[in-house]
Structures are given as C-alpha cells and as structure tokens.
C-alpha cells in the first residue's frame, strides 16, 4: 500500500515536542483555525487526532508531544518519510468574529493550537492578547510566532525560568482586573483549561476550550470522544472540539482520557523494547 502523505520537514522544538510539516493538500487547502486532523502511521497503526497548527500551500503543520506509542513512533519518522493516512480537516472551526479584545491562551504543547486562532481573530479586527505558558523556559514553543501575530504577548513559566513566574491563569486574573476582555480561548491540558477557565466564569466572559478526548474515526460515528457539555452529551469530533468552557464537565473528560492507561503503557513498553532491539533507542529522544 502506497503511503501518500510525505513529511516535508521534521524538527524537535523542545524536550518531547516535535514540529512536522506534512504534505496533505486536501487538509491544507481547507483548514481553518481550531480544526484538527487524524493520522494513522501505517497498516497496524491507530488513528490519533492532532491539532492543525498551521497550513501553508499543500502542507499542514502539526506539533505534538510524545505521550504514547503512536506519538513516539511518529517522532522517529524523518523528513522525506511518509505517513499512511491523514484525514481532515475535522471539527468545527473556531467561532471567529470581531468581538473587540480577545485573549488566546496556550499551555504547554497546547500552544501549538494558538497561532491560527490568534491570527484569524487579528484578521477579523480584534485586539489580540496572547498568553503562552509552560513548565519551564526550555518547554516554551512558538514564542516568536505568537509575538508576531498578537498585539500583546505574555509569557509564563511554572518555575519562573522565563516571563511571569506562575500560571497563565495568574496573568489572566490580572488582565481581568485591569480591563475589559470580550472573548477568551484556552488550549492546554484538561486540568489547565479547567483551572484557567474558572477565572473568566465570574465575569461571565464567553470562553472557549479545545477538548482532546480519545477518538477513533473523528467523524461522529463512534462516540468515543463524547463529552458532557451543559449536561448534554456532545461529540468533540463533530460538535467541537471547541466548547463553552463554563459548560464543560472537565472531570468526566479527564476520567475518559484515562480509559486505556494500562494498554497505553503496554504499547509504549513494547515499542521501547522493539526499538532497543533494533538499536534505535536513546538518540531519538534527544
């Protein structure tokens, strides 16, 4: 079987964080901010969703952290190699409009999703404030790109090694005290989105979060990605991935993200063992 989707470039951005440009015209030409794609690396691969972090010509950019077998395996692929399947763009695009002042917040590898949203908001005439946060300075990604797009950019690190010592939610709190913010986007780990969106709830400011539950088909067919939003069951793949943060049951999301913890561990261990036997271990991890 022919692998159609060539990796045009592969770069390591930070520890366990990689940036790939993949040739996928059908995705690149239609991608909008907030959407994702699904990859399947090979005949025996699983389907995993990855946020579309940029699109240029016939190529899309994905930025991912190696958290399991498939992302580890993807990170071993070099420019010039190919991926068997890329489907997308999937999900509803971000609700872009001219709202006034918008804040786009990315946490960790979730920063990957922020440039297209910030850029489209900017194009729509908004004053765009970016907040990007990571555990430490060396894990911070896309700072230059976000600085270029946003009218203002704030940096936070958990350990204070760069920017504000603390969390994105701390900066957001301060901004809320100082001025009016009309819309907020938060993309990051579930717990970060839960905590950060709590800041905007008292003021009743519409806040979007991009959810990342486990998916299979990504087209609304299986319901693996169902999330509880405002007491209703929604499918993140077709009803989302962005939802009103103040309606999301984050605890259920986090619970459902752990369904296959044991199997994920098995798959990862088996993959690490296989790579050691093949003499490929170590170096790729950087």
């Amino acid at each position: 079987m022919k692998r159609l989707y060539r990796i045009e470039s592969a770069a390591r951005l930070a520890d366990r964080v990689y940036e790939y440009w993949i040739h996928a015209p059908h995705v690149a030409r239609h991608a909008r901010a907030g959407q994702f794609l699904i990859v399947r690396l090979h005949e025996k691969g699983e389907r995993i969703p990855l946020t579309i972090s940029a699109a240029r010509g016939d190529a899309v950019r994905v930025i991912f952290m190696t958290v399991g077998k498939t992302t580890e395996e993807l990170a071993t692929l070099q420019a010039g190699e190919s991926i068997m399947d890329v489907a997308g763009p999937l999900g509803r695009p971000s609700e872009i409009d001219n709202y006034g002042t918008c804040c786009v917040i990315g946490g960790g590898v979730g920063i990957a999703s922020t440039p297209p949203i910030a850029a489209e908001l900017k194009r729509a005439g908004n004053h765009v404030i970016g907040i990007i946060g990571a555990r430490s300075a060396d894990l911070l990604i896309l700072e230059d790109e976000m600085r270029e797009i946003c009218d203002e950019l704030y940096i936070t690190t958990d350990d204070g090694s760069r920017g504000v010592h603390g969390f994105a939610s701390d900066v957001l709190k301060r901004l809320f005290e100082e001025r009016t913010i009309d819309r907020v986007w938060i993309i990051g780990p579930a717990i970060m989105m839960k905590v950060t969106s709590a800041v905007t709830a008292p003021a009743g400011v519409k806040t979007y979060v991009s959810l990342n539950p486990i998916m299979v088909d990504g087209t609304g067919m299986c319901g693996s990605c169902r999330v509880s939003v405002g007491g209703e069951t929604k499918f993140a793949c077709v009803d989302g991935p962005e939802f009103d943060a103040h309606q999301v049951d984050f605890d259920n999301l986090m619970q459902r993200q752990r369904i296959y913890t044991a199997q994920e561990k098995t798959a990862l261990e088996r993959f690490a063992e296989h790579r050691c036997r093949c003499g490929e271990g170590g170096e790729q991890h950087g």
Binding site: H26, V27, K44, L90, D217, T219, G220, G223, V227, Q263
Partner: protein, 447 residues
C-alpha cells in the same frame, strides 16, 4: 459443509458458516423448480436472475453462474453472507410451502467464492461518456452505485472519509460473519471497473461543496453512522461503548490483536449488550470472542428481536445469555463500570406500530454485575455532510428526502442507502443505489 461448532469458534474470528462444497451446491441447485414466473427475483432488491444462475450451478457451469450474478450484483460474496434471504428471495420461494426453500444465499456465496478463487472476470464497461460522477461514501450503496455508473461509461470518483473502503462492511460487520479479505476482494472488483477511490476525504471538509456540486451528478451514500445513546445515568463512565465504537475498534482497527495493532479495546469479564438487532448480536459475539461472559439485554421478547433468526441462534449457541423484557435504567460505577441496574418489562399493550409496547414492572429492579456496557440501540443518518448542502431537503430524522429513484431536492444530486432510508440492510441500500444509478445514467444520457 455446515458451521463450525460454537465451542471452537468463540476463540477466533474465523467464519462461522463454512459454505457449500461444489457437490453440495450442485445438489442444492438441482432442487430448483425453475419457475416460469419466479417470485424469488421479485424478492431480491437488486433483481438478480436467480433461476438463471441457479440453473448454471445445477449444470456445473460456475463461470456462467458468476457472470449472471455479477451482471446484477457486484458484491455477491458479501450479499450471499449477510442478506436476510429468509425474508427476501428464500422467503417467497415456492419450495418453502412444502419443504425448505432453495438456499439461494448459500448458492450465491458459493458461486462468488468459487469465482474469486478461480480468476474473476469483470462485466463489460461501456465506452467513456465524458461525464463525471461523485459518489460520497464507500459502503454498500456507494459501491453499488459506483459500479453501475462505471459500467455505463461514466468517470466515477468515490470519496471515503475513513482509511479503508467498505463503510459498514469494513467497520460494522465482524469477520466471523463477513471476512475482511472478501470485502477487500469485492471492492477491488468495483475499482477494477475504473472507479477512482479517494480515501481520507471528507466531503464538506476535505472536499469543498463547490467541487462536489461541480460533478455532473452526485450520489450521496453517507450512511446512518450516528450512534444513539439511551440517555441513562452513567453513560459516560469508562467502559461504556456504542456498538459502533466497539465494533470499529475490533473490525476496522483490529483491537483484538492489540498490541500487535496499536488500537486498544477494553477486555471485560462480564459485558452487557443492550439491543436486539443484528448489531447487538454482532457486538455480543465479538465481546464473547474477546473472552467475556455476555448478557444481551432487550426490552421486548425474543420473538420480537429485529435481528435475523440465524444470528440469534448463533449468539445463543455461543453462550450469550439473553435477558429479554428487561430495560436498563442506570449504569453503575465510579470511573469504570461496576454494574447495570435494570427493570423487568411487561408486554401487554399494542403500540401504534403494532408491536406490543413494553412497560416497566414496578418493584422488579435488579442489578447485574458487569464491567462493560455496549449500547446497540440504533443509529441515525450521519448529519455531517448533508446538513452542509444548501437546499438539500431532509426529513424529520435527518435523512435525505428522495423519491423512488433516489432524486433529492437538488436536480443533479441523488441519495441512497441509510442516509435516505434510515438504518436498514446492506441489500436494501444496494437496491436503492441501483435505482438511483439507473436514474443518474438516464439523466446523464439526456433521456
């Protein structure tokens, strides 16, 4: 050759029914009365010349039988296995009045299998017409329309959102009823007619509506892929699946072979499957093969199950325990599933559809200890694409409204299969696709 014994087959995904040997096939075909006005053909949604191909089998002329079959049906090995013949061709066979009907499905399967193993031949393809047709979805309806239109000389492109063609044939029906190499082989035959297949392409997302509607004709066959959930408490616990998800993980993604394949599925000791249709039987029997004790919970009686009788029998043989006149009211657990609370149902009143309407019996609640729940209570038309097409009329259940020839409210757009009818059978989808393909062909030829 019969069926593999239940105690053996529950340990694998190999086919249950072994099919007919050539001698058995000839002997069965010889029973056919060759009726002058064959009722069986009327009972076949795709109009196969049943007496014709059965006669060829009786003569031992299997290649001629295969040509005859393929003239009306490009997916005979699939239909021979999954069609509900007992309510269609075999159901109206006059031999059924006195003895047993001709086993038309088994003969169709035999001929198709024989041909696949002995150099398949393709039907003739007409000279190119220069017309382009887009088929959306590669399930039974999409494949059938594509084959018909390609044979008429049109340039057909199928758009499929998944990484594999076949739709429900690939993700839904388990290998022990429909082996996946057979599905692939019959799809290859359709593609060999010159049909182009674009996988990983979601129309409306990866393919613009302008591009779609720019084809000379469009056939929508996006299926009824949207799974229903009961809406009872505990549904979002880990270990609660839609049948679609559970079956997709195993049938399409090979989660049964995890970790050799990357997709996992939970393995439970005790599984409750909710529903009484073919999909419920499939889910129950897959769960059994993954090693579970399986309960099948259905709110009506066994005789009212919409599943094919043969599948009910197979499920029972394989040790699935049926809890009929039982309805789940809550799924119990914290994080994962620990049980399911049910109530017994009485069957007294007839409802509007003529089926008795079950009512809960007060005080009959009980809890079943299970660690997985699979809901197989139906699916509805996939709204993803059809809701995006301006001017496309849809029915109350989200289905695309069509006339008997598959015409929609947009002149050059047709629809067939489950997206038009709601969830139905493979062969009904194929029948509607054939009618639509004939209408599309007539339109393109300016008739």
């Amino acid at each position: 050759m019969g069926e593999r014994p239940a105690e053996i087959r529950i340990h694998d995904f190999e086919e249950v029914d072994l099919g007919l040997s050539p001698d058995e096939a000839v002997a069965e075909a010889e029973r056919c009365l060759q009726c002058k006005k064959p009722l069986c053909v009327k009972g076949c949604p795709v109009g196969i010349d049943i007496p014709g191909f059965v006669h060829q089998v009786a003569e031992g002329n299997f290649p001629a039988a295969a040509r005859s079959l393929k003239d009306q049906n490009m997916l005979p090995a699939i239909c021979g296995r999954v069609c509900p013949q007992e309510t269609q061709c075999e159901g109206v066979c006059v031999l059924g009045n006195k003895e047993t009907p001709i086993r038309i499905g088994a003969l169709e399967r035999f001929v198709a299998d024989w041909e696949r193993q002995n150099n398949p031949t393709l039907p003739d393809v007409a000279r190119p017409t220069g017309k382009r047709v887009a088929v959306v979805g590669s399930g039974p309806a999409g494949l059938t329309a594509a084959a018909e239109l390609a044979r008429a000389g049109h340039a057909v492109t199928i758009f499929e959102s998944l990484h594999a063609a076949g739709g429900v044939l690939a993700y839904g029906i388990p290998a022990f009823r429909l082996p996946k190499d057979i599905v692939r082989a019959e799809i290859e035959q359709v593609l060999a007619l010159g049909v182009r297949l674009k996988k990983n392409h979601l129309v409306g997302m990866s393919v613009g509506l302008d591009e779609l509607l720019g084809y000379d004709a469009v056939f929508l066959a996006t299926g009824a892929g949207l799974p229903a959930f009961m809406g009872i408490p505990g549904e979002n616990l880990n270990g609660v699946y839609s049948a679609n998800e559970f079956l997709t993980r195993v049938n399409l993604m090979h989660a049964d072979a995890f970790p050799e394949y990357d997709t996992p599925v939970l393995h439970a000791g005790r599984v409750a499957v909710i529903g009484g249709g073919n999909v419920a039987m499939d889910a129950a029997r897959v769960a059994r093969r993954l090693g579970a004790k399986v309960y099948l919970i259905y709110r009506r009686g066994e005789e009212e199950m919409p599943a094919r009788r043969a599948e009910v029998v197979h499920a029972k043989e394989e040790g699935i325990e049926f809890l009929t006149c039982t309805n789940p009211i809550r799924i119990l657990g914290k994080g994962g599933v620990t049980g399911i609370e049910c109530v017994k149902m009485s069957l007294c009143e007839m409802d509007a559809s003529g089926r008795r309407s079950p009512e809960p019996i007060e005080g009959s609640e009980f809890t079943l200890d299970v660690d997985m729940v699979i809901q197989a209570i139906g699916t509805s038309p996939n709204p993803l694409l059809v809701s995006l097409i301006p001017g496309l009329e849809r029915g109350r259940k989200g289905n695309v409204v069509v006339d008997k020839n598959g015409r929609t409210s947009i002149p050059h757009v047709y629809a067939g299969g489950d997206i038009a009818t709601g969830a139905a059978t493979v062969i009904e989808a194929m029948g509607s696709a054939k009618r639509a393909a004939a209408a599309i062909n007539a339109m393109l030829k300016g008739e």
